[in-house]
Symmetry: C2
Subunit: 240 residues, 2 copies
């Protein structure tokens, strides 16, 4: 099966047609036609072996030959909530890499010192879908619209909640050490701040809402690197 | 001290003048003049507090006020040898992120299935220097010119040598598990292949030269992500 023949089809089992964009790729770029084999990923835990049915320049039908339920390769849930960087490409690559490495949910935070207060989450969604296909992840990470810091910390429902900040004079625990104490199948959420860090008021508000202050090691990391490091450490601990 | 006032000056203790590019940044962009405070990093373990002396549009002299020897924050040595990706920007961000996270040496490999056989290592060097300044690393990672795979594996002098490959039917050990068995102050070298992986011949040649085959976890990672993952895992184990 050639590399390119993977298609993202939400709710694939209850449909018979590729979404428009995937159909165009299948027909115009890959020149697939009736009888060709393809793979569908529904982003919800299933891969399907399928066969192309009727196909023209705009539409591509399929029928499923075999359903292949997939397992997640880590326990519990990894959520990253991060302030988008000034340069979109930095947060975009982070979304791509975090998807490859494996996480469940990306939330975008509007913080006091944020360099960016508006973000096109649909662009990030596309990058996540592309990385999910490329890395064959059976579950698509959720990408949430940007919310204010206050709203996020007061409504986060994760079992274990952490805030990574850079105030050296404040008590922080090492994130990777701390992970070893948690049940592997728990849900964790990590907050990562903007280029100018969280404000002290934000750090205190998070602590007041049950977030534990952490450090991600002794390196001075950019926002997007810190986000990826948080995901990598959680993934490393929770992998099966 | 403002963010921008860090300058990379190799052999700073034996000089009295900023290199041309740094001088232009100091004088034209930051508009520094005689008496202003600056920080110098020599990339060899020292930071210096210094003061600007005579400065004009092309040249900027300094004198050192205080020498501040720095410690490395990890034990031993981390070398990554990787086949550059087809898209330069992918290998460039990896070099940036690996520098932030912390490693010692980057070697570029020309492999059988390489998508790129020519690489401007001076561009990667600039990115490494910039990331070193930004993340305040006291030691500059070495960037080596591209060499052939065969030449590299037959001359690599690291204490522990590993090759990450994706042949599922071949025996591989988990890299992070394996790291726990090594002396922390040892030198490790990890080989990461191109988009199309190493050839089986290359894998066997590496094994014949003392490289152990490893996996970096159960995710399907792009070349540049695998490189960063290898550095991150080594760093996590070797951090002090």
């Amino acid at each position: 099966m050639k590399e390119e023949r993977y298609f993202f089809v939400p709710n694939a089992a209850n449909s018979t047609e590729l979404p428009e964009e995937e159909a165009q790729h299948a027909v115009r770029v890959l020149r697939l036609s009736a009888g060709d084999s393809i793979w569908l990923m529904d982003g919800a835990g299933f891969f399907y072996r399928a066969e192309v049915g009727m196909a023209n320049k705009k539409r591509c039908f399929y029928h499923i030959v075999e359903s292949l339920p997939q397992n997640k390769s880590w326990s519990g849930n990894i959520q990253l909530a991060i302030a988008p960087t000034k340069m979109m490409e930095r947060i975009e690559w982070m979304a791509e890499k975090a998807t490859e490495i494996g996480f469940d949910e990306l939330s975008l935070l509007d913080c006091k010192f944020s360099e960016r207060h508006v973000v096109r989450s649909d662009r990030i969604e596309r990058i996540v879908v592309s990385a999910m296909k490329q890395s064959r992840k059976p579950f698509k990470p959720t990408v949430n619209e940007m919310t204010s810091f206050g709203q996020f910390v007061s409504s986060c429902k994760a079992d274990y909640k952490f805030i990574a900040h850079c105030y050296n004079d404040r008590k922080r625990i090492d994130f990777f050490d701390q992970l070893q104490e948690l049940p592997k199948d728990s849900s964790v959420c990590i907050l990562v701040g903007p280029e100018g860090d969280f404000s002290i008021d934000e750090v205190e508000m998070a602590i007041g809402n049950g977030f534990e202050p952490i450090t991600l090691g002794n390196s001075r990391l950019r926002t997007e690197t810190a986000g990826l490091m948080a995901v990598t450490l959680a993934q490393l601990y929770k992998r099966i």
